[in-house]
Amino acid sequence: MQTLLLTHIFIGLCGIVASYIVLMGLLKKEVFLRRVKTAAFFAFLAYLITWITGGGYYLNIYGPIIKPLINKGEYPWAHSFFMETKEHIFLFLPIISFVIWLALISSNEHIIKNDSLRRSIMLLAALSFAISVAVALFGVVVSGAK
């Protein structure tokens, strides 16, 4: 079961790094489209895997063992606020990262010429990066509460 948590953390971090590469790639004057598209795909894949492993860990360990400990401990808000928020805002990540990847593969070279399209995808990438960082920090808060 620790493997599930380790995979969840490691793949989640890979997702954050991939989201960062997408954002950084779109910010550059010269967009390396292939690199950005590959990173966008890996971000989507990483969020899918981290969703499945996180779900498995929640069902088998967190829900039955850790959650009752946190609720009875000194920091019950770690679950009631941070875990609840983490669970809900995380759900945006696979969807947003899929939209970003889809937008990148369908717009192709247009993204280099069309500034408003590039800015829109950049905003989505910034949103997914911000959510992924927040979710990772919430994970640290929850892990420290038991």
């Binding site: 620790q2 948590l5 380790l6 953390i9 490691f10 971090l13 954050i16 790094v17 960062y20 954002l23 950084m24 910010l27 550059k28 960082v133 990772a136 920090l137 640290v140 808060v141 892990s143 420290g144 509460a145 038991k146």
Partner: protein
């Protein structure tokens, strides 16, 4: 070497790469500014240093979260509410966001360089200074103070160097 020591050593290597990278970025940038033109060789040096900084960031990110995981599975969960850890996490986020802002040219260069320089050194110092007894707010206030001071110091060094 046990896993914990390995993770600590890796974490320190990441911080050292970051500190070295940001120091040389500043030196190469100053040298490049001397003649007013960034030639291809200087541009290549800056790109290399930038790659070292990225590698350092990725290493501290992964080794840092591996240390978090190690502490959780070994029952040291209280470590995760350590103010030094949260200051380091906040400063790492500042390093990453600062790099984005510098790329987007959305931040003045003096502030961007000062943030990068102070943040990497602060992360290294906080990592080493295990006996530090200060609140999160105190650490961050000192950090903000040093960012401003370093901004002036780096600007002063730049003016002196460019005049010489």
């Amino acid at each position: 070497m046990d896993i914990h020591t390995f993770l600590i050593v890796t974490h320190i290597i990441g911080a050292v790469l970051g500190v070295g990278g940001t120091t040389f970025a500043e030196i190469f940038y100053l040298k490049a500014l001397k003649d007013g033109v960034i030639d291809p060789m200087e541009s290549d040096w800056l790109r290399t240093v930038s790659a070292v900084l990225r590698v350092g960031t990725v290493i501290i990110l992964f080794s840092g979260f591996a240390l978090v995981f190690w502490n959780v599975i070994n029952g040291n969960s209280e470590y995760l509410y350590n103010t030094r850890l949260w200051a380091k996490l906040s400063i790492t986020i500042i390093i990453v966001v600062n790099a984005l802002l510098l790329h987007a040219r959305a931040i003045p260069l003096w502030l961007g360089f000062s943030l990068s320089f102070t943040s990497w050194y602060a992360a290294l110092i906080l990592g080493i200074w295990s006996g530090l007894n200060a609140s999160f707010v105190q650490i961050m206030l000192y950090y903000v103070g040093f960012v401003i001071i370093m901004g002036f110091v780096l600007d002063f060094i730049k003016k002196i160097y460019l005049k010489s």
